[in-house]
Symmetry: C2
């Protein structure tokens, strides 16, 4: 029986790699640059070379590695094929097959980065002990991962858990990155919170610390904690969109817990003060008790979840 | 190996029963009254007696029956326990255990009626050939069943697929049966369509055939087919709510197909003319091609799906 497993999280700038024992203890983590030029043709060979170099360095035998899990930004279907990873330059790539061949037939499992991070949080993070959970990543965008009975819901073409693009506002005039108008991401991401704050600053002339410096998700929630009324109004708007959106998701898949991560979640549990009231007001009564917890693995959620893909 | 399986669908007025061969051919179906008095204490014994009488009548041996599947109106968890089936008088009932004991230890599987109907449509109805589907029942209320990888999503406490109660309207003043305001059911059910039509009739003085008789989901869609402008406006409102709601669901679980059933679906494919445009306008781009089909099993979906529960 193998003692080790690798987890790989491919981002647009760097690839994060982790070496784990099969109990899920992170033994070592490191990064390599993501070479996106030439259609990203070097990315998987770079990953394979880095994994093999680490095995050599640590004198780990091939038979002692259970496999390599890999998460990447784009829809990944059940066969491990990623479709349209625009940030990496890939059009279509069979993660599982290509990386396995580069590693001499080693077991490889692949998944969407947000889904894989959700799996990581379930395994070793804020969602530990649960098997029905929804992970929500509030970063530059809004990502999501739906886990039911311990398994990620990829959906029929890898679009499962795309909760940043659920429609929550009919009257939006600014286009979302996806081409639609009124997606959750336009209000609940870091950039979305900044958008809401800038709009609120324009809409009224109320005094606020936000008028005296940078407006960001961080400064908004710092101001909320300091009792700034305008910032609190922005937090309420954010909470209305996100709370109602998560209420709909709860009525569909009825998770035990929402695990909230990403840069915005650094604001801490104060987020729940604004998410929970609209959630409870609008959600199906059978789901009102759904728990909210903070993610705990930060940027490592992806490598943890990728490693877990292999061990499932 | 057994040759037969029973499917049972417990409703508030009648219990439907079906005898199937294990390939899913319906050999015979019949009904018995649902005796809801005394906390519904007679319901399961009546079901057991009816199953046993049918076995005797057909000279079917105990060993030749794979089991009995049963669907009932209320949240059913993974252990087969139904919580709060108000229409039946039950507070909490272990469907699987109680009915199995009444049948001398025969295998019994239980599920929520809407979820079980979804399974029936996947097995032998409009969703045949698919394993990721969402069934939507537009009846007196709006029910739903989410099937992922061939399995019903019950959720952590049996509230999975409660899509009639996803929040779709912030400005509703009439309370939904569930106690919330602005649930999908308030606009997309038969009673919801009637509500929208009555409001539209009051809101304008446009001529319409709906002013000259009964206003119902059926008369509204008959009028739509006849080109009645006011009815078409009502159908557009219905389609906006339902199309956008299903768009959100698609972004969460990314099904291959929506199977639309229930009394309202008798209007036929004209429904899709009103559901698809708002769906496509608002859904995540990876889900725009999601198919819409009509359910085909009608009131028999429940007994088919219940039988399938046993064969999974």
């Amino acid at each position: 029986m193998a003692n080790y497993v690798f987890g790989v999280d491919v981002g647009g700038t760097t690839v994060k790699l982790g070496l784990f024992d099969i109990s899920g203890n992170l033994l070592e983590k490191w990064e390599i640059p993501t070479r996106t030029e030439n259609g990203g043709v070097n990315i998987l060979p770079d990953v394979a070379a880095s994994v093999q170099a680490k095995m050599e360095e640590k004198a780990i035998e091939r038979d002692d590695v259970a496999g390599v899990g890999i998460g990447a930004p784009g829809p990944v279907d059940g066969r491990g094929i990623i479709h349209k990873a625009v940030n990496l330059g890939w059009s279509e790539m069979n993660l599982k097959k290509e990386l396995s061949e580069l590693l001499g037939g080693m077991q490889v499992e692949g998944g969407n980065d947000a889904n894989v991070a959700a799996l990581g949080e379930m395994w070793k993070g804020g969602g530990q002990g649960h098997k029905d959970l929804v992970a929500v990543t509030l970063g530059t965008g809004v990502g999501g991962g739906i886990i039911i009975n311990g398994k990620v819901v990829t959906g029929c073409n890898g679009s499962g858990g795309e909760i940043g693009h659920i429609h929550v506002e009919d009257n939006e005039t600014e286009e979302c990155g996806c081409g639609n108008f009124g997606c959750l991401e336009e209000y609940a991401s870091a950039t979305g919170i900044t958008r809401l704050a800038n709009r609120q600053l324009k809409a009224c002339d109320k005094d606020s610390v936000l008028r005296q410096g940078e407006v960001s998700a961080k400064t908004v929630f710092d101001a909320v904690k300091a009792g700034d009324e305008l910032a609190i109004e922005v937090a309420k708007q954010f909470g209305e969109y996100l709370g109602k959106g998560l209420g709909v998701i709860a009525g569909v898949v009825n998770p035990e817990v929402f695990v909230i991560g990403g840069g915005v979640s650094k604001a801490g549990e104060v987020l729940f003060d604004y998410i929970r009231p609209p959630f409870e007001r609008t959600v199906f009564h059978g789901c009102k008790e759904t728990k909210f917890v903070l993610a705990t693995l930060g940027n490592d959620a992806g490598i943890y979840g990728a490693a877990k893909l292999v061990l499932e």
